[in-house]
Subunit: 414 residues, 2 copies
């Protein structure tokens, strides 16, 4: 994979020009993307900007508005849709000197019907969803950075399936203006990159918060809470083993690893994700559903058919369970420095017909807490398996600092 | 003014067809709008829908996306901008049988540079802003219902200046998807109509929450808190007198009227509105500012020039002050049944060069609490002066029930 920080350093040192690095990215995309199908639309050429991300090519999920590339939402309903404005997050990329390498494939409206993208590790395996193209493009070494969005598990899941690092930052840290909404209480922008180190580097620049480019945490004495997410169905053995393995590595490095109890409020909040999303998605996609029902893909169409039955009372109850869950989670997360939990239920599905399962991601999206994953190992089918780090709302720097420490540990053990 | 509930009743009774009522609205708009300038774009003809709002023509502020009418944002930057989809709130109107009478004039991007609209009571006076066309169209009797948005005071202020009723419901009650963002933590959809009774009728239908069409509250024994908003500069005499007058009427009707202390946290939250909006507006309008600075109107351009200096730390401090203010306000509002406070600092400015002042609206927008105004009286210049009702977050039904009781009291006293 390409490193954003390394590119920035080489450009700053004069080792390479930003333009030559972009031209090399372009060549790789030309070479690989006919097979990989990570991109939905690309500019005619990549031109270098100026700033700390000069030379950094970035994939932009195709539900994010761009003024000079069409924004198709993964759906024929938005064929040739050309937004007037760039979304604020795209403007931040450009202001920092990054170059939009293209729009990356998304499932239709970021729901569950698969995008055409393949998993770079196995062309017959799912790259996950909904930010499929962004994860695959980073994992295949086509770009060092990509934007995704997560409403259930759409940043962390594809990143873990494809074997990249990713962060879903605290809710609201990155502005979702100009991003097609699915459920406005849940929709969160995130980043994919080669490493936690690169994520911290890019996120600090994009948010103008240098403290997010945090030093690695000391592992000795770090209080790490293991969370099985017992309110959700158990994972496959490979993911249970991955979590046990990283826990053991942390113990050996001097961390204090505890298995956490899970307050009832967390399970109640986990179950509230459904009705909350159902009610908001029916509002957010009201026009598409009422006027283009036949053009919606099967899973999304059937989902909205059912979700329409959600009542305002069920929505209010879900919001109340979310509020209680957030209060409980703040105390619960406060017991430890970081929480480690499953990122996915297993390796990527051995099919292009499913984007996998977001059950280990949904609670954290609902609570708005930072989630970060880094590549760990391969499962029995040879595909990536990993874990995720969770910290308290607003503790993005700590998630990054922990990710940097843990990825070094993984590297040293390899 | 036209009454939405009355129209619905006449259509339901067979006294008039929905189409004949719409044709009559269309005739009034044709007759008056060349002078009033309430509309930015109109359909070629108004066609009746079916449902509880059949025959109800509705003005839609021109920062709200419509699939069959251009959405100009009050700015040449969005000339001939044709969104693909209707915003969810527009879909709700249509699903209920209402007819979009046209896009109503807005200040550019809902900021302070005046729209071309005139005040129906005095063509040389401001209709207020930013939802100028919506307020003027309802006040002039062109339509019974209109959509506005409030980030500072852009629903309540123009309604009070033009002499209509209006509600800014609890933050998030109406979905802002498809509404051009200015400050996503503040932007709130609201309704203008002839009366609180009409507001309750329409809001209940648009939200699928019948309890919002609440019965009038009993005034005897009602605990009413008067709030001067002493953290803001004092109002003109006319508005001070209006608040004293409605308080006296309520006392005579048996209400218990108390003057409330104002906790420091409210003033701190009031002052947090500025940096919160500044930081978010710079993000939300990043593309317009970076690529079309010269096409921004003077107040907005200068505002963004200055707002760029806002730091993430100032934004975080503003969010923290908002959180403390919301906690304090929840307790403070709990002392009484409703709070009465100024809606505006005076009558509408006697100029088309200013949209007036939102200082008595901004705190409540920040806190997300329901605000409702009904017409009360005329000031020394013959223009409307009024007050607003504030209730706790989520207590929209109580705001409507109080508005209905108070508007009856005003009617009986007239």
């Amino acid at each position: 994979m390409l490193s954003a920080r390394d590119i920035a350093r080489r450009v700053a040192n004069g080792e390479a020009s930003a333009q030559s690095i972009l031209t090399e990215c372009e060549r790789r995309i030309d070479e690989r993307d006919a097979d990989l199908q990570a991109f939905a639309a690309r500019p005619t050429s990549l031109e270098a900007g100026s700033g700390p991300l000069a030379g950094v090519a970035c994939g932009v999920k195709d539900i994010i508005d761009t003024a000079d590339l069409p924004t198709g939402m993964g759906s024929p309903i938005y064929a040739e849709n050309q937004p007037r404005a760039d979304a604020p997050i795209v403007m931040r990329l450009k202001a920092a000197g990054a170059t939009v390498a293209g729009k990356t494939q998304t499932t239709a409206f970021a729901f569950l019907d698969p995008a055409p993208t393949h998993n770079p590790h196995d062309p017959s395996a799912s790259p996950g969803g909904s930010s499929a193209g962004s994860a695959a493009a980073v994992a295949a070494g086509l770009v060092p950075l990509a934007l995704g969005t997560q409403t259930g598990g759409s940043v962390i899941r594809p990143a873990a399936y494809c074997g990249t690092a990713a962060i879903k930052p605290s809710f609201g840290l990155l502005p979702t203006v100009g991003v097609k909404p699915f459920s406005w209480s849940l929709d969160t922008l995130g980043l994919m990159a080669a490493s936690a180190d690169d994520l911290g580097f890019a996120l600090a620049i994009l948010t103008d918060r240098p403290e997010l480019d945090a030093e690695a945490l000391a592992l000795r004495g770090l209080r790490v809470g293991l969370c099985e997410q017992r309110f959700a169905e158990a994972p496959e053995a490979a993911c249970g083993e991955a979590l046990a393995r990283i826990a053991e590595m942390l113990r050996e490095a001097g961390a204090e690893v505890l298995t956490l109890d899970e307050p009832d409020e967390l399970g109640e909040a986990f179950r509230a994700h459904g009705p909350l999303q159902d009610w908001e998605a029916c509002q957010a996609l009201a026009w598409e559903y009422a006027t283009h029902r036949e053009d919606l893909p099967p899973k999304l169409g059937a989902y909205l058919d059912a979700a329409r039955a959600t009542t305002p009372a069920a929505y209010d109850a879900a919001r109340e369970a979310t509020r209680r869950g957030a209060e409980s989670a703040a105390r619960w997360l406060g017991q430890v420095d970081i929480v480690l939990t499953h990122a996915t239920p297993g390796e990527a599905p051995e099919t292009l017909a499913s984007t996998g399962d977001s059950r280990f991601n949904r609670l954290w999206t609902l609570l708005g807490t930072p989630c970060l994953t880094v590549p760990l190992a391969r499962g029995p089918r040879g595909l990536p398996v990993s874990f995720q780090i969770v910290t308290g709302l607003g503790e993005d720097a700590k998630a990054i600092a922990a990710g940097k420490a843990i990825e070094r540990l993984i590297l040293m053990a390899a």
